[in-house]
Structure formats: C-alpha cells, structure tokens
Symmetry: C2
Subunit: 238 residues, 2 copies
DNA sequence: TCAAAAGTGTTCTTATTACACCCATGG
DNA sequence: CCATGGGTGTAATAAGAACACTTTTGA
C-alpha cells in the first residue's frame, strides 16, 4: 500500500494534490410554521442562476468547523451558532471543475436574528421552506436531504430545537417547531406533559402580548439545569 | 465570498490545491468476548513504528466509499463488508507532512473471515481490544473514539451487530457481543425476550457442538424478514 | 456426580397513548 | 358575545426492569 500515511512515488504526488475540499452549510430557520433553509442564488458558473447551499473552499490553514462558521457569518453576520458536521460528500464527478469533496454541516439559527447583509444581498440569499425546495446546484439536494434526516434524529435526542426559537417562547410554538421538523402531528396534552416533566423549561411568569386570544405563558430553555442533569446521566428523549 | 463555488483569484489556486484527503478505517471484530480493532504498525515516517488505523489517500478518480473499501480489501482480502462513514477530521495540523483531511469510516467484519494477507503481514496488522488500545499515530485515538461512539449508537437502532458474528450464533454469543460493544451487562431473560419478540431470528433447529455443557440452540439473522418489516414501518430498537 | 452454561415466567413499575371540554382574551 | 387559541386529567395499554431456579450436556 502506498499513500501519505506511508510513502508515495513522486509521480503520484501531483495528481493527489489536484484536489480541493469545501464546506457546505444547510442553515435552518423556523418562521413559526415552516422549517426553512437559507439558499443563495449562484452568480457565476457553474450552475449560474441556480439555487444552492452556501459554501466555500476551506482555506489552507483553516479548520473545517472554522470554515463552516465563516460561511455562516459572511452570509448572516451571526457567530456562536449551533453547528453540526454531518457527512463528507465526495463523488468523483460531483463538481464540474475538478475533484472537490465537500463536508456538509447544518446550522440552527433564530430566523429573527437574520438580517440581510451586504454579502447575502449580493448573493440573493433567501429562505425557502424545506418542503418546497426545487432542484439545486451540484449534489445539494442530496446534502439537504441528509442534513434534514440528521436534524430529525437529533432533535428528538438532544435539546437543539431551542436554537431555532427566540429566547422566550410558548409551548404551542415549541410544539409547532417539532411538528415542522418531524413532519408529523403531535398530541397537545401529551407533548406538554412530556416536555414539562423534563423540568428543562423555566416558566417566566410572563404572557404573550398582542394576540387576539387568550395569551400563552412564556418559557425559556434552562441550559444550566440541562447540563446538570446530563452530568447525572440524564438523556433528552422526546 | 470567493471559492470554487464562485470564482477564485489565480494566486489562490495553488495553495488551495496543496492539500489532499484520505480515508481511515476503524475495522471492528468480535472474538467472542472482546470488541477488537484491526491496527497496523507503521513502517515509515511519520510515526514510524507506531500503531495506527489503516488508511490511505483517496485516488483522484476514486469515490470516498470506494477508497475505504479498497483499504479494507487490501488489508483483509474481504469485500462486500458493512461500512459506515462517520466523520471528517480536518484539523490544520493533524498531519505533519501537509494539509490532509481524512474521512473516517468503520467496518464490521466477522473476525473468523480475517486471514493474514501478504499486505497485512507486511504491515504487522493485528487485532487489539478496543479497551486496551494505547497511543496511536496522528489523531487516530480521537477517530477511534468517535467511531466507537457511533457504533454504540448504531448497534441499538439497527441490526448491524450480526455483521460481527458468524452466520450461525447462539443467543448468549449475541448477548456477549452487545455487552462488549455497549460496555454494560444485560439481563439474560430480558435480552432474550426482547430480541426474540422482534421475530428477526431464525431458529435453525441446530445445536452447538463440542462444548462441555448443555449445547445452545443456533440462530440466524433473517434479513429478508427484517427488510419486509422495515418496509412496513418497523424500526429496530434494543 | 459434578461443573458449566442453557433456558425459562411473573410481578412490579414506568411510559405511552387516546381522548374532550372549559378558559381567557381581544375585537 | 363571539372567535380564537390556551390550558388541563384520567384511564387503558404497552414496555421495561428486577429477579432464581431447573435442565442438559460432557468430562
């Protein structure tokens, strides 16, 4: 066996290094009823004019996670956001200009925090309901599908849904979020019983304002308590 | 934003392409009592003499999965083996000779199928209990840990454990396999009740031979039935 | 006849499901 | 006073956990 883990013939080196790697970031948001994904409209070939996932080549001295964070920040202005690596996509012909493997990530952001930035404006970034995404550039439909499946698994086993909600939310909003992600209806009483029984929600003793019906109580995710529970062996399961 | 997804300045191209990617394969086996991993002793710098995960650079016209299969086959002679991509590792300085990101896989093989091949002999390949692996080359300890965690999750939610057992096995062997992977004791009666209630095991009406005690019944995993159940919405859970 | 592992059921506790009505508010 | 969504409990069922003795075989 040859390889950089062992040693390679000089003639092989050139072709081994004619390759590059990128990150692509599936940025999820929730608008109160639909799970959305932030797409950009490509301004250059290949796939000019097509919708695509935001992504970029990884700089030579840049870690993969850092590259994914950079893509996100350039597009949205946001930092310190929930980010999860999902999978490497490396089919030989996935990129028309050369051998480029891409590391797929997803991010969860509070959609209200997103304001159109110069970078995103220039790229016509916009939110699309995940159920209504059409044909994307490259293998980005496959990447989106994989990330969505990964999110569906994750959201039931870790309290990551809260990353998509404002700091203060109602139980109905939380339920609608789960219904949008899991693409399934949940029973209101059972959902509330279960989520409240975990003792991870702080009752803020505040009410919704400006709604034309009985206002709902506002809650906050109690991360400190969650971490204390985890340290004692608790594992989130919904 | 620049990048191959958009366009890049010529001066950037060279440095972007001074990079390579590899696959590393955590090959798991089960010897009846311990979960084992197949390691090679490095014959060349860097880390000469150290134990490492088998891996290699990905060829320019080779898919990632294909590269992982190739590494496995060169070492063990085995094909059509259970293989799962886990994560990309890409810390800037993870490889002393340049920027190399690696895509980590794990494979599950029947340890009895493994015979020392010329390639594995030349590399001093050998099995190590996962609980007794020392310091490995590169970031391979981190990769091994991540793959082991991934396997622990997977083995409870999909019938992949059978990949590590011979075609005919006893319930005690199956239980010992789960105990080795999960690093936990399981209740014999509850384990049997649960696994048999799934109706995925075919009772072969054969008994163990050559044991100095009451011989156990032999079972076989019934993949066809499993796939039929999955098509009807069943999901394995142990 | 002994050693060693195989095989087998019941009870208790906990989690999950299904389900329908009254309440508080703004317009 | 009406429309809208908020909020609440119980009973039935299913799943999980704890637990100990008898059986079969080879040596």
């Amino acid at each position: 066996m040859t390889g950089i883990n062992g040693y390679i013939r000089m003639s092989e080196i050139e072709s081994f290094f004619k390759s590059a790697f990128s990150v692509d970031n599936v940025i999820f948001g929730f608008d109160g009823s639909d799970l959305k994904v932030l797409l950009i409209q490509r301004g250059a070939a290949p796939f000019k004019g097509k919708w695509a996932l935001p992504g970029d080549l990884v700089y030579p001295n840049e870690n993969l996670d850092t590259a994914a964070e950079r893509v996100l920040e350039q597009l949205t202005g946001l930092r310190d956001v929930y980010l999860e690596q999902v999978k490497a996509f490396g089919a030989v012909n996935r990129h028309p200009l050369g051998r480029v493997i891409t590391i797929a990530y997803y991010s969860l952001i509070k959609i209200s925090d997103f304001l159109v930035t110069p970078a995103s404006f220039a790229q016509s970034a916009s939110w699309h309901a995940v159920s209504e995404v059409g044909e994307l550039a490259f293998d980005h439909n496959e990447i989106l599908d994989t990330c969505l499946k990964s999110l569906k698994r994750k959201v039931r086993r870790a309290p990551v849904g809260f990353e998509l909600l404002p700091p203060k939310f109602t139980l109905t909003e939380l339920q609608q979020l789960y219904e949008a992600i899991l693409d399934d209806k949940l029973d209101k009483r059972n959902f509330r019983k279960k989520i409240l029984s975990m003792n991870l929600l702080l009752d803020l003793n505040e009410l919704q304002e400006g709604v034309a019906h009985r206002p709902a109580k506002l809650y906050q995710f109690d991360r400190d308590t969650y971490e204390a529970f985890v340290a004692k062996g608790f594992s989130f399961d919904l």
